[in-house]
């Protein structure tokens, strides 16, 4: 195999000949360093996630182009009909579409994990004596960066189109913060499906089946008071509704304490239930 040789610099290619002495040096028994802390291990895996973004920047397409399309599409599709103008609608709608886009992006966590495992590199990670959830936590931390990026992209598009949040910079930051906390928690749902389901395609399929009703049957697009009673009941229980109310309030310069409490409770529930299920599957696979 010619590619097995040194890069073509015009010199005769050198073939690798294993040298017993060189190998003996690297095999010299160093003392095993102490086992890394849970934090250090998670950080190392987050670094891996960042490197992957660096090497495969195309994967940022779904956190940039997709959110832009979402904002433009729905603002002009519904704006005239649901409010007096797209610009008025945007005041109500932007926090909602931000939540929808970012929550939809969370499903790629499951897809990514599934392909990672398919490739086999997780076999090595799972034989390392490190804190078990570190590989997954690191992966999700990398994804959180993508969530922040998507949120910022949407915010920028919104500002260009005329979104003027009453909450100012702090309110907007608080809103994005809440969204990121929820998305981090929600990602554990997808790590579970990423481990349980067989292929990338089935992970996508299940994700869409969960995400579509969850995001559309909420207060993202319209005020729930126009909906039939049974649907209102669902919308009121929907964690996305609580999240949207919290983010909307924060960006509007107020606080919706009850929604926020619900949102935090849901986030905790996702981490506890799906985090546990994920780790159970991860260990038993």
């Amino acid at each position: 195999m010619s590619s097995d040789t040194a890069t073509s610099t015009g010199r005769a290619p050198t073939v690798y000949v294993p040298s017993t002495e060189a190998l003996a040096t690297v095999l010299a028994p160093g003392k095993r360093p102490p086992r890394p802390s849970a934090l250090a291990a998670s950080l190392a895996f987050s670094w891996r996630a960042l490197l992957k973004i660096k090497h495969v920047p195309e994967q940022l397409f779904d956190v940039t182009a997709f959110p832009i399309i979402m904002v433009l599409m729905f603002t002009y599709l519904f704006g005239g009909a649901l409010a007096d103008s797209p610009r008025d609608y945007l005041q109500f709608f932007l926090p909602g579409i931000m939540v929808t886009s970012v929550v939809m992006i969370t499903m790629y966590t499951g897809v990514g994990l599934n392909t990672d495992i398919e490739k086999g590199v997780f076999d090595r990670f799972r034989t390392l004596p490190v804190w078990r959830p570190a590989a997954l936590v690191g992966m999700i931390v990398g994804d959180v960066l993508r969530y922040v990026l998507a949120a910022v992209v949407i915010l920028s598009v919104g500002l260009v189109l005329g979104f003027r949040p009453d909450g100012g910079v702090l309110g907007v930051l608080a809103g994005i913060g809440l969204l990121v906390i929820f998305s981090f928690a929600f990602s554990w749902v997808w790590t579970f499906f990423g481990l349980v389901l067989r292929s990338e395609k089935s992970v996508m399929g299940v994700s869409m089946m969960v995400l579509f009703p969850l995001t559309f049957l909420s207060n993202v697009f319209v005020d729930p008071s126009t909906m039939p009673g049974w649907l209102q009941a669902f919308v009121k229980a929907n964690p996305i509704t609580h999240l949207v109310s919290s983010v909307r309030a924060a960006m509007g310069g107020t606080t919706d304490a009850s929604s926020m409490a619900w949102m935090v409770a849901w986030s905790a529930l996702f981490i506890v239930v799906f985090g546990t299920l994920t780790m159970y599957r991860y260990n038993r696979r």
């Binding site: 690798y16 010299a28 190392a44 076999d123 034989t127």
Partner: protein
Amino acid sequence: MSRRATGLAIEAAGLTRSFGETHALAGLDLAVPAGAVYGLLGPNGAGKTTAVRVLATLLRPDGGQARVFGHDVVTEADAVRARVSLTGQYASVDEDLTGTENLILLGRLLGLRKPAAQQRAEQLLAAFGLTDAAGRQVKKYSGGMRRRIDIAASILSTPDLLFLDEPTTGLDPRSRNQVWEIVRAVVAHGTTVLLTTQYLDEADKLASRIAVVDHGRVIAEGTPGELKSSVGSGTVHLRLRDAAQRPEAERLLGTTLGVPVQLEPDPVAITARVGGDGSDLDASAQAARALGELSRAGIVVDDFSLGQPSLDEVFLALTDHPAVPAEAERDDALEAAR
């Protein structure tokens, strides 16, 4: 190394593991002495990879027990993980990352600080002849380079036990030799290596003991010498000029030499196993005698070769069924073509 003297690296008894209807492990027993290469030899689907995955704590057995350096692989998995390292059959490093990045990542996961991890990465890349490729993504590496970075990653913190799952499958002969050299260096350092392979000659060259695995069970175990003497250390392949003389040749070889003879699908080809238990001659002497007998009987031999028995022949001898099912063979070809 003191651990060389300390007996067994792996003890497994009655390991079972099923995937649906497939019984990948059906009561596998294993005793691997520390400080040497131990070969698990078998065709695709024999259960080698499943066995390695169970022993490396990646998979829980349905039944049976396994200990690695005295630690149970299920209940003391972390203690096992601290002493073993696995180079799997497929990607065992991240293909999207460069060689350096992969080694730094693993170094940090093993507890090295960043500068130490960086230094260790450079050291390993140099020793494995990958310095020029250090900054390239692993997916752009050739097959031989891939295996080397896989193994470099496995000895980042030199393990007491290294699992190598089919380390040379799909490699060209030169890369294969490089891997063998590396394995020898690793063992010379005192690490125990459990190597799975489909090639008898690989197990023969590297391993000091071999277990032949079939249908999730060990069907034969011993030193390469013991194994070969039960099978016959060599195979004589003959091609006759005249197909009509084959029955005569078969009779001659079978009766005069008293060795098992096999007629090949090719009407002029005939195969005889030599150097087995029943003979006081070694393989080459037996082969020479066979040639002499044939020429005395006026049978013209166009082509002659003496080789090691193939895995197929070992299996035939041990089990009376061929080693590689047609299905697996095709998968293999696909795998190699990728």
